[in-house]
């Protein structure tokens, strides 16, 4: 298909994706999705958070993992940027630091797919930081 340029092109693309999206929305409630937050404070952006967020979006979609990826502000871990928080359905959120594309790939394959722990987890205490 030609490149999407107008809102009409987007409408057509959406219609062709609709069945897939419908299936996903009817089949599951959002709580059953993997929820990912990418820290986007200045320090996160300067150390590559944009690339990591793009990688996660593309790869989770390609690998067929139901997920919601959002941006968040400072999580208080300047020293370990880029950082992401991953919440698997029914589990406590976990924060990973020093995430580049390679680490992100490992997080998807090991932690998200199989629940295996991987290096780079930051102990959770940011709830107390304002």
């Amino acid at each position: 298909m030609a490149k999407i340029k107008s809102l009409d092109d987007l409408r057509m693309m959406k219609e062709s994706l609709q069945s897939k999206i419908n299936l996903r929305e009817k089949g599951e409630d959002p709580g059953s999705h993997v929820q990912i937050k990418v820290a986007m404070a200045t320090c996160g952006i300067a150390s590559g958070a944009k690339t990591v967020m793009e990688f996660m979006m593309e790869e989770l979609e390609k690998r067929g993992i139901e997920s919601v990826i959002t941006q968040t502000g400072c999580m208080g871990y300047c020293f370990a940027e880029p950082t992401i928080e991953v919440k698997l359905p029914g589990k406590e959120p976990v924060v990973f630091g020093y995430v580049d594309n390679k680490k992100a790939d490992e997080i998807i394959e090991k932690y998200i797919k199989n629940g295996e722990l991987v290096d780079g987890i930051i102990p959770m205490n940011y709830e107390t930081i304002e």
């Binding site: 999407i4 340029k5 987007l10 404070a41 200045t42 979006m57």
Partner: protein, 187 residues
């Protein structure tokens, strides 16, 4: 930051933290008059006069306390270096408008970077906020509005991971077109 697009990504985060529901990003690249203007306007909580003075000055504040951030001082430094400027207008409970001006002929001027990626990522990552993005190159304008996009998408969320790539493609294709038009305009 290594390009203007990453600065914009960063400044938008300030508006998000300020609880804006509508954020307008305008970029005007006017190579005939050697000017790039970046304007980010939000309807967030705004800042007091005291706060505006504080955030604009990198020497008195950002270096001493950890509470004041680096985003605005870094952008100011990169704008000033080219012979441009940074200005902030803000009113409590009304919102904030930040303008960064660059002179593209200056060798210190950062490249634009992946602006289509920044806009699509920000839009996908903040589905409940509306964004209007105007990009002008030598007078040729492209406007992208999530208000319109959300109408087209209907009950499909703008944050749906399968949509993001197409939003980026849509912005990119239009930017390429105004870029080509602007070359015709120049000669």
């Amino acid at each position: 930051m290594k390009d203007i697009a990453l600065h914009i990504l960063d400044i938008i985060q300030n508006s998000i933290v300020a609880k804006a529901t509508l954020i307008e990003i305008s970029i005007d690249e006017d190579f005939v008059n050697d000017s790039i203007l970046v304007t980010i306007k939000d309807n967030g909580c705004g800042m007091s006069k005291k706060m505006i003075e504080k955030v604009s000055d990198p020497y008195t504040t950002s270096r001493t306390t950890r509470k004041v951030g680096l985003g605005i001082p870094l952008l100011k430094q990169n704008a000033d270096r080219t012979g441009g400027y940074l200005s902030i207008k803000s009113e409590l409970e009304i919102g904030t408008t930040l303008i960064a001006s660059f002179k593209p002929s200056n060798i210190d001027c950062l490249p634009m970077g992946d602006i289509a990626g920044v806009i699509s990522l920000t839009v996908s990552g903040n589905p409940s906020i509306d964004f209007i993005y105007n990009h002008k190159i030598n007078g040729n304008l492209y406007t992208f509005s999530t208000i319109e996009v959300k109408k087209v998408l209907g009950d499909v969320s703008i944050g749906d991971p399968s949509i993001s790539v197409y939003l980026k493609e849509m912005i990119q294709t239009n930017l390429e077109e105004i870029q080509i038009d602007s070359i015709g305009y120049k000669t």
